[in-house]
Amino acid sequence: MQDYIQLQLKKSYEYLLLATHFNSYQMNRPGFQKLYQGLSDRAFDDTIALIKQVTRRGGAVDFSKPHDKGVANPPEVHLNELESLARALDNEKELTLGAIHVHTSATHGTTASREHDPEMAHYLQENFLSKQSASVRKLSGYANDLSKLVSVREPSLSVYLFDEFLQKQ
């Protein structure tokens, strides 16, 4: 859980930078900005929800140690529209795997260090697993739509219209 909380927090700021990238005057894609800002806010709220869940169960969360994966190299955020959707889809898959990982150790723990924890498993099912699968599905749909839309000679108008569509979501 410690690991998953720090992952959520990290992704929250990655999404914030991605949103910022599309908010620049040179990119100027308010729809994409909105999409990633929303994902950033969600990841931050999830961070808080997870802290509450862990402490509700008598645990503690430690922010004095760095997250073990990928602190050294912040990921590239200067991506084009399609690449950014691919990145977001990867992020969402990573967050889903994180939830599944915690769920697995909560359900199949048999040793003393990993005890069977139906309450935690239930919490993740209820609050994370279906939400994550919906999010992965949505982004996958966007990525496929956009990759079809840009398969024309001059895709600027397609991307513009797709961005307009994203603004309305």
Partner: protein
Amino acid sequence: MMKVFASICLLVVLVAVNQAQAESLVSTNHGSVMQELNKQKNEKVQENENLNCNVRTNAIFKAWPDMKTPCVNSMRKQIQKEIHASVQYLAMAAHFSTDTVNRPGFAEHFFKAAKEEREHGSKLVEYLSMRGELTDTVKNLIQVPTVKTANWSGIAALEDAFKLETEVTKSIRDLIKTCEGTGKDDNDYHLVDYLTGVYLEEQLHGQRELAGQITTLEKMMSTHGELGEFLFDKNM
């Protein structure tokens, strides 16, 4: 500017990729979507080495964005400081949420503070975008920091929070000085006004509120000890 070239070029390349292959991007169940996309791109680049892009940047943007470099750099540092404060408050909130400490009032107070600090950071980021900055320098803008943790008592946490807010206030004052500049036309009036009117305003009120809380809690603790902290928490 180079970034625009690069992304448009990439888009053109991607078009070619999609025209030629017309295959689903997301059909791969293994590995990363990003890698798949890059693989398709590279294959295509090798086939079409003479793909060239002609994108002009608009000449009107010659003297714009017009923010001064020292000011922009100080803004970037300030953003990281706000994020640091946010994570620091998260750590405090997590501490007060544990069953052995059990101070839900303090916990909620610090969760709220963490959200506010994050909001402050992202508003400064938005400001830079509004001024035409952050076109190709977004990477590295924010790193999730590690923060100090302690076995805070209520009063110690409020004192640490007060210290933190005082530091942030000082750093905003320094930022304002930097953005006032030294040269004749260096003063960034709008940003200076924004920082003074919105950020300092909030900082000063925040400091006053914390100072009041510290005094009250201290009084309650000196006469009633643990009961004082218990009652204070329930009224937060």
